[in-house]
Protein backbone atom coordinates (compact mmCIF):
# COMPACT_ATOMS: atom_id res chain seq x y z
CA UNK A 1 0.00 0.00 0.00
CA UNK A 2 2.85 2.34 0.84
CA UNK A 3 4.21 1.94 -2.69
CA UNK A 4 0.89 3.00 -4.25
CA UNK A 5 0.64 5.87 -1.78
CA UNK A 6 4.04 7.18 -2.88
CA UNK A 7 3.33 6.63 -6.58
CA UNK A 8 0.07 8.58 -6.24
CA UNK A 9 1.80 11.35 -4.32
CA UNK A 10 4.58 11.44 -6.92
CA UNK A 11 2.10 11.98 -9.75
CA UNK A 12 0.24 14.64 -7.75
CA UNK A 13 3.56 16.43 -7.31
CA UNK A 14 4.26 16.15 -11.06
CA UNK A 15 0.84 17.66 -11.71
CA UNK A 16 1.88 20.72 -9.69
CA UNK A 17 5.34 20.81 -11.26
CA UNK A 18 4.04 20.88 -14.85
CA UNK A 19 1.65 23.77 -14.42
CA UNK A 20 1.97 27.10 -16.22
CA UNK A 21 4.91 29.07 -14.78
CA UNK A 22 4.06 32.29 -12.97
CA UNK A 23 6.82 34.33 -14.58
CA UNK A 24 8.43 32.88 -17.69
CA UNK A 25 11.59 34.97 -17.54
CA UNK A 26 12.26 33.96 -13.92
CA UNK A 27 11.87 30.28 -14.85
CA UNK A 28 14.08 30.76 -17.90
CA UNK A 29 16.89 32.19 -15.74
CA UNK A 30 16.49 29.38 -13.24
CA UNK A 31 16.65 26.80 -16.04
CA UNK A 32 19.93 28.29 -17.29
CA UNK A 33 21.30 28.10 -13.74
CA UNK A 34 20.29 24.45 -13.52
CA UNK A 35 21.93 23.66 -16.88
CA UNK A 36 25.11 25.08 -15.40
CA UNK A 37 24.71 23.36 -12.03
CA UNK A 38 23.42 19.94 -13.03
CA UNK A 39 24.75 19.67 -16.57
CA UNK A 40 27.94 21.59 -17.21
CA UNK A 41 29.28 20.85 -13.74
CA UNK A 42 28.81 17.11 -14.41
CA UNK A 43 30.95 17.12 -17.54
CA UNK A 44 34.17 16.47 -15.62
CA UNK A 45 32.96 13.38 -13.76
CA UNK A 46 31.27 12.01 -16.90
CA UNK A 47 34.48 12.47 -18.90
CA UNK A 48 36.70 10.84 -16.26
CA UNK A 49 34.41 7.85 -15.84
CA UNK A 50 33.93 7.45 -19.59
CA UNK A 51 37.62 7.46 -20.41
CA UNK A 52 38.36 4.69 -17.90
CA UNK A 53 35.20 2.81 -18.86
CA UNK A 54 36.21 2.87 -22.55
CA UNK A 55 39.73 1.78 -21.68
CA UNK A 56 38.60 -1.17 -19.56
CA UNK A 57 35.99 -2.33 -22.09
CA UNK A 58 38.60 -2.29 -24.88
CA UNK A 59 41.18 -4.25 -22.92
CA UNK A 60 38.58 -6.76 -21.66
CA UNK A 61 37.22 -7.24 -25.19
CA UNK A 62 40.75 -7.78 -26.43
CA UNK A 63 41.48 -10.50 -23.84
CA UNK A 64 38.14 -12.20 -24.53
CA UNK A 65 38.71 -12.30 -28.29
CA UNK A 66 42.26 -13.63 -28.24
CA UNK A 67 41.72 -16.02 -31.06
CA UNK A 68 43.63 -16.06 -34.38
CA UNK A 69 40.35 -16.69 -36.21
CA UNK A 70 38.80 -13.47 -34.91
CA UNK A 71 39.92 -10.21 -36.58
CA UNK A 72 41.29 -7.60 -34.16
CA UNK A 73 38.99 -4.89 -35.49
CA UNK A 74 36.29 -6.70 -33.47
CA UNK A 75 37.84 -5.09 -30.39
CA UNK A 76 36.90 -1.62 -31.68
CA UNK A 77 33.48 -2.84 -32.78
CA UNK A 78 32.78 -4.48 -29.40
CA UNK A 79 33.92 -1.47 -27.44
CA UNK A 80 31.88 0.87 -29.63
CA UNK A 81 28.65 -1.11 -29.28
CA UNK A 82 29.05 -1.56 -25.53
CA UNK A 83 29.68 2.15 -25.07
CA UNK A 84 26.90 3.34 -27.39
CA UNK A 85 24.25 0.87 -26.29
CA UNK A 86 24.77 0.67 -22.57
CA UNK A 87 27.59 2.49 -20.89
CA UNK A 88 27.10 6.06 -22.14
CA UNK A 89 23.44 6.04 -21.17
CA UNK A 90 22.87 3.62 -18.28
CA UNK A 91 26.18 3.89 -16.46
CA UNK A 92 26.28 7.66 -16.95
CA UNK A 93 22.70 7.83 -15.64
CA UNK A 94 23.69 5.83 -12.54
CA UNK A 95 26.59 8.23 -11.98
CA UNK A 96 24.25 11.19 -12.41
CA UNK A 97 21.78 9.62 -9.96
CA UNK A 98 24.56 9.81 -7.38
CA UNK A 99 25.70 13.29 -8.28
CA UNK A 100 22.64 15.32 -9.23
CA UNK A 101 20.09 13.11 -7.46
CA UNK A 102 21.64 13.62 -4.05
CA UNK A 103 22.26 17.29 -4.82
CA UNK A 104 18.62 17.93 -5.73
CA UNK A 105 17.17 15.97 -2.80
CA UNK A 106 19.42 17.64 -0.24
CA UNK A 107 18.90 21.12 -1.70
CA UNK A 108 15.11 20.88 -1.76
CA UNK A 109 15.03 18.93 1.52
CA UNK A 110 17.05 21.65 3.26
CA UNK A 111 14.71 24.28 1.85
CA UNK A 112 11.80 22.30 3.26
CA UNK A 113 13.17 21.93 6.79
CA UNK A 114 14.32 25.55 6.96
CA UNK A 115 10.84 26.73 5.93
CA UNK A 116 12.06 28.28 2.66
CA UNK A 117 9.39 26.31 0.79
CA UNK A 118 6.75 27.57 3.22
CA UNK A 119 8.01 31.10 2.54
CA UNK A 120 7.47 30.56 -1.20
CA UNK A 121 3.97 29.18 -0.62
CA UNK A 122 3.05 32.11 1.62
CA UNK A 123 4.08 34.51 -1.15
CA UNK A 124 1.69 32.73 -3.51
CA UNK A 125 4.40 30.98 -5.53
CA UNK A 126 3.81 27.43 -6.77
CA UNK A 127 6.88 26.14 -4.94
CA UNK A 128 6.80 22.71 -6.60
CA UNK A 129 6.89 24.19 -10.06
CA UNK A 130 9.36 26.96 -9.22
CA UNK A 131 11.86 24.62 -7.58
CA UNK A 132 11.49 21.45 -9.62
CA UNK A 133 10.56 22.40 -13.18
CA UNK A 134 13.82 24.26 -13.98
CA UNK A 135 15.81 21.31 -12.61
CA UNK A 136 13.90 18.81 -14.75
CA UNK A 137 14.02 20.94 -17.91
CA UNK A 138 17.66 21.97 -17.44
CA UNK A 139 18.84 18.43 -16.80
CA UNK A 140 16.78 16.87 -19.59
CA UNK A 141 18.06 19.46 -22.09
CA UNK A 142 21.70 18.92 -21.18
CA UNK A 143 21.76 15.16 -20.54
CA UNK A 144 22.01 14.16 -24.25
CA UNK A 145 25.17 16.28 -24.52
CA UNK A 146 26.65 14.42 -21.56
CA UNK A 147 25.90 11.13 -23.28
CA UNK A 148 27.48 12.31 -26.54
CA UNK A 149 30.51 13.47 -24.57
CA UNK A 150 30.66 10.10 -22.84
CA UNK A 151 30.54 8.29 -26.19
CA UNK A 152 33.35 10.35 -27.70
CA UNK A 153 35.55 10.23 -24.61
CA UNK A 154 34.81 6.53 -23.97
CA UNK A 155 35.71 5.46 -27.50
CA UNK A 156 38.81 7.67 -27.41
CA UNK A 157 39.80 6.16 -24.06
CA UNK A 158 39.44 2.71 -25.56
CA UNK A 159 41.71 3.64 -28.44
CA UNK A 160 44.40 5.10 -26.13
CA UNK A 161 44.30 2.08 -23.79
CA UNK A 162 44.11 -0.46 -26.62
CA UNK A 163 47.06 0.92 -28.53
CA UNK A 164 49.09 1.63 -25.38
CA UNK A 165 48.58 -1.97 -24.22
CA UNK A 166 49.43 -3.20 -27.69
CA UNK A 167 46.23 -5.24 -28.04
CA UNK A 168 45.00 -3.41 -31.15
CA UNK A 169 46.47 -1.10 -33.78
CA UNK A 170 45.06 2.36 -34.48
CA UNK A 171 43.99 1.27 -38.01
CA UNK A 172 42.16 -1.80 -36.74
CA UNK A 173 40.50 0.07 -33.90
CA UNK A 174 39.24 2.84 -36.22
CA UNK A 175 38.11 0.26 -38.78
CA UNK A 176 36.28 -1.58 -35.99
CA UNK A 177 34.43 1.46 -34.66
CA UNK A 178 33.26 2.28 -38.19
CA UNK A 179 32.35 -1.29 -39.14
CA UNK A 180 28.59 -2.04 -39.46
CA UNK A 181 27.79 1.18 -37.65
CA UNK A 182 24.10 1.64 -36.90
CA UNK A 183 23.28 5.33 -36.17
CA UNK A 184 20.07 4.24 -34.42
CA UNK A 185 22.21 3.10 -31.49
CA UNK A 186 22.94 6.77 -30.77
CA UNK A 187 19.25 7.69 -30.97
CA UNK A 188 18.43 4.77 -28.68
CA UNK A 189 21.02 5.91 -26.17
CA UNK A 190 19.83 9.52 -26.25
CA UNK A 191 16.21 8.47 -25.69
CA UNK A 192 17.31 6.36 -22.73
CA UNK A 193 19.34 9.10 -21.06
CA UNK A 194 16.48 11.58 -21.48
CA UNK A 195 14.07 9.22 -19.71
CA UNK A 196 16.65 8.35 -17.04
CA UNK A 197 17.42 11.97 -16.24
CA UNK A 198 13.72 12.77 -16.04
CA UNK A 199 13.38 9.94 -13.50
CA UNK A 200 16.43 11.08 -11.51
CA UNK A 201 15.32 14.70 -11.23
CA UNK A 202 11.66 14.00 -10.45
CA UNK A 203 12.28 11.15 -7.98
CA UNK A 204 14.99 13.13 -6.18
CA UNK A 205 12.80 16.23 -6.09
CA UNK A 206 9.93 14.15 -4.71
CA UNK A 207 12.08 12.91 -1.85
CA UNK A 208 13.48 16.37 -1.14
CA UNK A 209 10.10 18.08 -1.34
CA UNK A 210 8.50 15.65 1.11
CA UNK A 211 11.25 15.81 3.71
CA UNK A 212 10.10 16.58 7.22
CA UNK A 213 12.16 16.94 10.35
CA UNK A 214 15.78 18.06 10.42
CA UNK A 215 19.20 17.46 8.95
CA UNK A 216 19.02 13.72 9.62
CA UNK A 217 15.91 13.44 7.44
CA UNK A 218 17.59 15.49 4.71
CA UNK A 219 20.37 12.92 4.64
CA UNK A 220 17.84 10.08 4.51
CA UNK A 221 15.96 11.79 1.68
CA UNK A 222 19.21 12.15 -0.23
CA UNK A 223 20.02 8.44 0.19
CA UNK A 224 16.49 7.39 -0.82
CA UNK A 225 16.72 9.64 -3.88
CA UNK A 226 19.87 7.89 -5.10
CA UNK A 227 18.65 4.37 -4.30
CA UNK A 228 15.18 4.80 -5.84
CA UNK A 229 16.52 6.64 -8.89
CA UNK A 230 19.01 3.83 -9.51
CA UNK A 231 16.35 1.13 -9.20
CA UNK A 232 14.03 2.95 -11.61
CA UNK A 233 16.88 3.54 -14.06
CA UNK A 234 17.56 -0.21 -14.19
CA UNK A 235 13.85 -1.02 -14.49
CA UNK A 236 13.30 1.48 -17.30
CA UNK A 237 16.50 0.34 -18.98
CA UNK A 238 14.91 -3.06 -19.37
CA UNK A 239 11.57 -1.65 -20.53
CA UNK A 240 13.14 0.77 -23.03
CA UNK A 241 15.50 -1.85 -24.41
CA UNK A 242 12.58 -4.16 -25.03
CA UNK A 243 10.55 -1.36 -26.61
CA UNK A 244 13.27 0.23 -28.73
CA UNK A 245 15.50 -2.66 -29.79
CA UNK A 246 13.19 -5.65 -30.12
Amino acid sequence: MSLFYHIGKYFLLLNRVFSIPEKHNVYYKETLKEIQKQGINSMGIVAIISVFMGAVITIQTAYNTENPLLPTYLIGLGARDAILLEFSSTIVALILAGKIGSNIASEIGTMRVTEQIDALEIMGVNSASYLILPKVVGSVIFAPFLTLLSMIVGISGGWVAGTAAGVVTTENYIYGIQYAFNPYYITYSLIKITVFVFLITTISSYHGYNTSGGSLEVGKASTKAVVHSSIFILLFNLILTQLLLS
Partner: protein, 253 residues
Protein backbone atom coordinates in the same frame (compact mmCIF):
# COMPACT_ATOMS: atom_id res chain seq x y z
CA UNK B 1 -8.65 42.79 10.33
CA UNK B 2 -8.50 39.02 10.61
CA UNK B 3 -11.23 37.04 12.28
CA UNK B 4 -10.77 33.44 13.33
CA UNK B 5 -14.11 31.70 13.86
CA UNK B 6 -14.47 28.34 15.59
CA UNK B 7 -11.41 26.76 14.04
CA UNK B 8 -10.33 23.27 14.99
CA UNK B 9 -7.38 21.29 13.77
CA UNK B 10 -6.27 17.73 14.48
CA UNK B 11 -3.25 15.75 13.38
CA UNK B 12 -4.33 12.12 13.12
CA UNK B 13 -5.97 11.52 16.53
CA UNK B 14 -4.42 14.48 18.33
CA UNK B 15 -6.56 17.58 18.59
CA UNK B 16 -4.25 20.58 18.44
CA UNK B 17 -6.76 23.43 18.12
CA UNK B 18 -10.23 23.31 19.61
CA UNK B 19 -12.84 25.85 18.45
CA UNK B 20 -10.64 28.93 18.65
CA UNK B 21 -12.32 32.32 18.16
CA UNK B 22 -10.18 35.47 17.93
CA UNK B 23 -10.36 38.87 16.30
CA UNK B 24 -7.01 40.36 15.25
CA UNK B 25 -7.22 44.08 14.78
CA UNK B 26 -5.90 46.24 11.96
CA UNK B 27 -3.01 48.63 12.64
CA UNK B 28 -2.18 46.76 15.84
CA UNK B 29 0.44 44.24 16.82
CA UNK B 30 -1.54 41.19 17.87
CA UNK B 31 0.40 38.63 19.89
CA UNK B 32 -0.33 34.95 20.25
CA UNK B 33 1.39 33.61 23.35
CA UNK B 34 1.52 30.19 24.93
CA UNK B 35 3.80 27.41 26.04
CA UNK B 36 5.65 25.21 23.58
CA UNK B 37 3.19 22.66 22.25
CA UNK B 38 0.14 24.76 23.10
CA UNK B 39 -0.87 25.05 19.46
CA UNK B 40 0.10 28.64 18.72
CA UNK B 41 2.30 27.81 15.70
CA UNK B 42 -0.44 25.57 14.31
CA UNK B 43 -2.88 28.45 14.80
CA UNK B 44 -0.59 30.85 12.94
CA UNK B 45 0.08 28.39 10.12
CA UNK B 46 -3.63 27.64 9.87
CA UNK B 47 -4.41 31.33 9.53
CA UNK B 48 -1.94 31.74 6.65
CA UNK B 49 -3.17 28.55 5.02
CA UNK B 50 -0.11 26.35 5.50
CA UNK B 51 -2.40 23.98 7.41
CA UNK B 52 -5.94 23.15 6.32
CA UNK B 53 -8.31 23.55 9.26
CA UNK B 54 -10.81 20.77 9.99
CA UNK B 55 -13.60 23.24 10.63
CA UNK B 56 -14.23 26.94 11.12
CA UNK B 57 -13.52 30.06 9.12
CA UNK B 58 -10.56 32.40 8.71
CA UNK B 59 -11.80 35.76 7.51
CA UNK B 60 -9.44 38.39 6.07
CA UNK B 61 -11.42 41.66 5.85
CA UNK B 62 -14.73 39.95 4.97
CA UNK B 63 -13.11 37.35 2.68
CA UNK B 64 -13.29 33.79 3.95
CA UNK B 65 -9.69 32.86 3.16
CA UNK B 66 -9.86 29.13 3.89
CA UNK B 67 -12.84 28.67 1.57
CA UNK B 68 -11.26 30.41 -1.44
CA UNK B 69 -10.32 28.33 -4.47
CA UNK B 70 -6.66 27.73 -5.27
CA UNK B 71 -6.39 30.65 -7.72
CA UNK B 72 -8.04 33.23 -5.44
CA UNK B 73 -6.06 32.01 -2.48
CA UNK B 74 -2.90 32.50 -4.49
CA UNK B 75 -3.92 36.07 -5.31
CA UNK B 76 -4.73 36.72 -1.68
CA UNK B 77 -1.33 35.49 -0.60
CA UNK B 78 0.30 38.41 -2.41
CA UNK B 79 -1.13 40.61 0.34
CA UNK B 80 0.52 38.50 3.03
CA UNK B 81 4.04 38.89 4.35
CA UNK B 82 5.55 36.41 6.74
CA UNK B 83 8.60 36.34 8.93
CA UNK B 84 9.63 32.80 9.83
CA UNK B 85 11.38 31.66 12.99
CA UNK B 86 14.67 31.00 11.20
CA UNK B 87 14.26 33.80 8.66
CA UNK B 88 13.72 31.33 5.79
CA UNK B 89 15.92 33.37 3.49
CA UNK B 90 16.95 31.72 0.23
CA UNK B 91 20.51 30.52 0.89
CA UNK B 92 21.66 30.72 -2.70
CA UNK B 93 20.48 34.32 -3.15
CA UNK B 94 22.08 37.50 -1.87
CA UNK B 95 20.32 39.87 0.50
CA UNK B 96 19.05 42.07 -2.32
CA UNK B 97 17.99 39.08 -4.43
CA UNK B 98 15.98 37.80 -1.47
CA UNK B 99 14.17 41.12 -1.08
CA UNK B 100 13.71 41.49 -4.84
CA UNK B 101 12.26 37.99 -5.21
CA UNK B 102 8.56 38.86 -4.65
CA UNK B 103 8.99 41.88 -6.95
CA UNK B 104 10.46 39.64 -9.69
CA UNK B 105 7.65 37.14 -9.34
CA UNK B 106 4.63 39.39 -9.02
CA UNK B 107 5.34 42.79 -10.55
CA UNK B 108 6.26 44.12 -13.95
CA UNK B 109 8.47 46.88 -12.57
CA UNK B 110 11.64 47.78 -14.41
CA UNK B 111 14.93 46.61 -12.95
CA UNK B 112 15.79 50.09 -11.69
CA UNK B 113 12.37 50.48 -10.03
CA UNK B 114 12.77 47.10 -8.39
CA UNK B 115 16.23 48.08 -7.19
CA UNK B 116 14.84 51.31 -5.74
CA UNK B 117 12.17 49.38 -3.87
CA UNK B 118 14.74 46.88 -2.58
CA UNK B 119 16.94 49.70 -1.30
CA UNK B 120 13.93 51.42 0.26
CA UNK B 121 12.92 48.24 2.13
CA UNK B 122 16.45 47.52 3.28
CA UNK B 123 16.83 51.11 4.46
CA UNK B 124 13.54 50.80 6.34
CA UNK B 125 14.91 47.89 8.33
CA UNK B 126 18.20 49.75 8.88
CA UNK B 127 20.29 47.52 6.65
CA UNK B 128 22.59 49.54 4.51
CA UNK B 129 25.55 48.23 2.49
CA UNK B 130 24.48 44.64 3.04
CA UNK B 131 22.93 44.12 -0.41
CA UNK B 132 25.59 41.80 -1.78
CA UNK B 133 26.01 39.58 1.27
CA UNK B 134 24.56 36.07 1.38
CA UNK B 135 22.40 34.93 4.32
CA UNK B 136 25.21 32.76 5.70
CA UNK B 137 27.48 35.82 5.84
CA UNK B 138 25.26 37.95 8.08
CA UNK B 139 24.15 37.69 11.72
CA UNK B 140 20.85 36.20 12.92
CA UNK B 141 19.46 39.65 13.70
CA UNK B 142 20.38 40.89 10.23
CA UNK B 143 18.76 37.82 8.68
CA UNK B 144 15.54 38.63 10.52
CA UNK B 145 15.68 42.19 9.23
CA UNK B 146 16.22 40.98 5.66
CA UNK B 147 13.23 38.67 6.12
CA UNK B 148 11.14 41.64 7.29
CA UNK B 149 12.32 43.66 4.28
CA UNK B 150 11.30 40.80 1.98
CA UNK B 151 7.94 40.50 3.76
CA UNK B 152 7.11 44.18 3.21
CA UNK B 153 8.44 44.44 -0.35
CA UNK B 154 4.96 44.14 -1.88
CA UNK B 155 3.29 46.42 0.69
CA UNK B 156 1.26 43.62 2.29
CA UNK B 157 -1.93 44.19 4.25
CA UNK B 158 -1.16 41.38 6.66
CA UNK B 159 2.09 40.51 8.41
CA UNK B 160 2.71 37.26 10.27
CA UNK B 161 5.73 36.65 12.45
CA UNK B 162 6.55 33.25 13.90
CA UNK B 163 8.75 33.68 16.96
CA UNK B 164 10.72 36.58 15.49
CA UNK B 165 13.04 36.77 18.52
CA UNK B 166 14.13 33.19 18.78
CA UNK B 167 17.89 32.88 18.91
CA UNK B 168 18.50 36.61 19.32
CA UNK B 169 20.14 38.47 22.18
CA UNK B 170 17.77 40.67 24.25
CA UNK B 171 18.96 43.92 22.69
CA UNK B 172 18.55 42.71 19.11
CA UNK B 173 15.22 41.12 20.05
CA UNK B 174 13.91 44.50 21.21
CA UNK B 175 15.12 46.09 17.96
CA UNK B 176 13.22 43.50 15.92
CA UNK B 177 10.11 43.91 18.10
CA UNK B 178 10.12 47.66 17.71
CA UNK B 179 10.71 47.35 13.98
CA UNK B 180 7.66 45.10 13.65
CA UNK B 181 5.55 47.52 15.66
CA UNK B 182 6.73 50.59 13.72
CA UNK B 183 6.13 48.90 10.36
CA UNK B 184 2.66 47.75 11.46
CA UNK B 185 1.66 51.30 12.32
CA UNK B 186 3.36 52.83 9.28
CA UNK B 187 1.73 50.46 6.75
CA UNK B 188 -1.51 50.14 8.78
CA UNK B 189 -1.23 46.36 8.58
CA UNK B 190 -2.85 43.62 10.59
CA UNK B 191 0.11 42.00 12.29
CA UNK B 192 0.06 38.72 14.18
CA UNK B 193 3.15 37.74 16.14
CA UNK B 194 3.59 34.32 17.62
CA UNK B 195 5.91 34.44 20.62
CA UNK B 196 6.74 33.12 24.05
CA UNK B 197 9.08 35.99 24.79
CA UNK B 198 7.63 38.04 27.65
CA UNK B 199 9.73 41.05 26.72
CA UNK B 200 7.87 41.12 23.39
CA UNK B 201 4.56 41.02 25.20
CA UNK B 202 5.51 44.00 27.29
CA UNK B 203 7.14 45.92 24.43
CA UNK B 204 4.71 45.55 21.56
CA UNK B 205 1.61 43.63 22.62
CA UNK B 206 -1.30 45.85 21.61
CA UNK B 207 -3.50 42.80 21.88
CA UNK B 208 -2.50 39.55 23.52
CA UNK B 209 -4.13 36.14 23.01
CA UNK B 210 -3.12 33.31 25.31
CA UNK B 211 -3.44 29.80 23.89
CA UNK B 212 -3.48 26.91 26.33
CA UNK B 213 -3.87 23.25 25.31
CA UNK B 214 -5.21 24.24 21.90
CA UNK B 215 -7.85 26.61 23.22
CA UNK B 216 -8.05 30.36 23.62
CA UNK B 217 -7.69 30.77 27.35
CA UNK B 218 -7.45 34.52 27.67
CA UNK B 219 -7.28 37.69 25.55
CA UNK B 220 -6.66 41.29 26.45
CA UNK B 221 -4.01 44.00 26.51
CA UNK B 222 -0.49 43.85 27.91
CA UNK B 223 -1.60 46.02 30.83
CA UNK B 224 -4.43 43.59 31.59
CA UNK B 225 -1.97 40.75 32.13
CA UNK B 226 -1.01 42.17 35.54
CA UNK B 227 -4.60 42.15 36.76
CA UNK B 228 -5.77 38.80 35.45
CA UNK B 229 -6.85 36.06 37.83
CA UNK B 230 -6.36 33.43 35.15
CA UNK B 231 -4.11 30.86 36.82
CA UNK B 232 -2.70 29.28 33.65
CA UNK B 233 -1.79 32.69 32.23
CA UNK B 234 -0.24 33.77 35.53
CA UNK B 235 1.79 30.57 35.71
CA UNK B 236 3.00 31.11 32.17
CA UNK B 237 3.74 34.84 32.31
CA UNK B 238 5.12 35.03 35.82
CA UNK B 239 7.15 31.84 35.75
CA UNK B 240 10.46 33.56 36.53
CA UNK B 241 11.53 35.21 39.78
CA UNK B 242 12.19 38.46 37.96
CA UNK B 243 8.72 38.62 36.41
CA UNK B 244 7.11 37.82 39.77
CA UNK B 245 9.07 40.65 41.39
CA UNK B 246 7.95 43.03 38.65
CA UNK B 247 4.35 41.99 39.24
CA UNK B 248 4.71 42.56 42.99
CA UNK B 249 6.25 45.97 42.39
CA UNK B 250 3.42 46.90 40.01
CA UNK B 251 0.82 45.82 42.56
CA UNK B 252 2.64 47.60 45.33
CA UNK B 253 2.68 50.91 43.72
Amino acid sequence: MIEVKDISKSFENTKVLNEVNVLFEKGKTNLIIGQSGSGKTVLLKSIVGLHQVDKGQIIFDNIVFNELNFKDKKEMRKQIGMLFQGGALFDSSSVEENVRYPLDMFTNLSLSDKQDRVNECLKRVNLINANKFYPAEISGGMQKRVAIARAIALNPKYLFCDEPNSGLDPQTAILIDNLIKEITEEYNMTTIVNTHDMNSVMEIGDKVVFIYKGEKWWEGTKEGIFDTENNELNNFIFASTLSRKIKDLKKGG
